[in-house]
Subunit: 148 residues, 2 copies
């Protein structure tokens, strides 16, 4: 997706198309895993884009409101993480050692949601599933140390 698409996307949501917002969408879209506001800020700095951290927070907040971006709160990280909303229903597999996050795009929970709705009389809007484990690389390292 290129910058013109981002610009259109923003306008379609009733937002002004600003350079910062486009760059932020671009950064998140290119990231293969969710990142924190501070990291977005640093990447912008690295690109020699002068921006204030509060602007990054405000932009992320606005983009989340418009569902262009998804905000995550993950165990073990006190910061919120943000990812580009690819309009796919995804889940996350997180390595407990290196904190790498893999996005998984298969969901086994459609039926479960229906059952749950019946049982609880809730109107179910969605869910978040996070799976924790150790990635192959970290498993190997820990095997060598005799830790696992």
């Amino acid at each position: 997706m290129n910058k013109f698409d981002f610009s259109d996307k923003l306008k379609m949501c009733g937002l002004k198309s600003t350079k910062h917002r486009i760059v932020i969408l671009d950064i998140l879209e290119k990231s293969n895993q969710p990142i924190a506001a501070e990291q977005v800020f640093q990447i912008m700095r690295d690109k020699d884009i002068v921006v204030n951290l509060s602007t990054v927070y405000r932009a992320l907040d606005t983009l989340c409101e418009k569902k262009l971006v998804i905000k995550l709160n993950i165990y073990g990280d006190s910061r919120a993480l943000f990812e580009f909303n690819r309009m796919l229903h995804t889940h996350h597999l997180i390595c407990l050692n290196c904190k790498k996050i893999i996005v998984i795009d298969r969901c086994p929970l459609e039926e479960y949601e229906k059952t749950l709705a019946k049982e609880t009389d809730y109107l179910i809007e969605g869910h978040k599933l996070v799976v924790y484990g150790y990635c192959p690389q970290c498993r190997e390292k820990q095997l060598k140390k005799g830790l696992v």
Copy 2:
């Protein structure tokens, strides 16, 4: 579970049995939903227990390490929440309106974990599932307002 049990539990984990820790376990055990450190602190204050907030944080941290307590990071709350570990594998159903949290104790994901392990070569340690929706009470209120 009474206070003697908590004392034993702490000792079995290699922790000293202190008044504060016992009270904190008691508060969490009695709470029907996960609560923040600040709330634990306030409940202690209400019980006329003089305690420092940093002690609450340290105690919760220690109890989590020993798996007596579970720490949660939930979307929409920048604070961590803590719940008594009932040694059941549970999930959470959260009302997007009133933020009420229901603990659900049926898990549809055993098979899924196995499949995922095979596919990714991760050593899966566990998962967290949070379902979002609107509770019957909030649905009714919103219906009246014509919002849903």
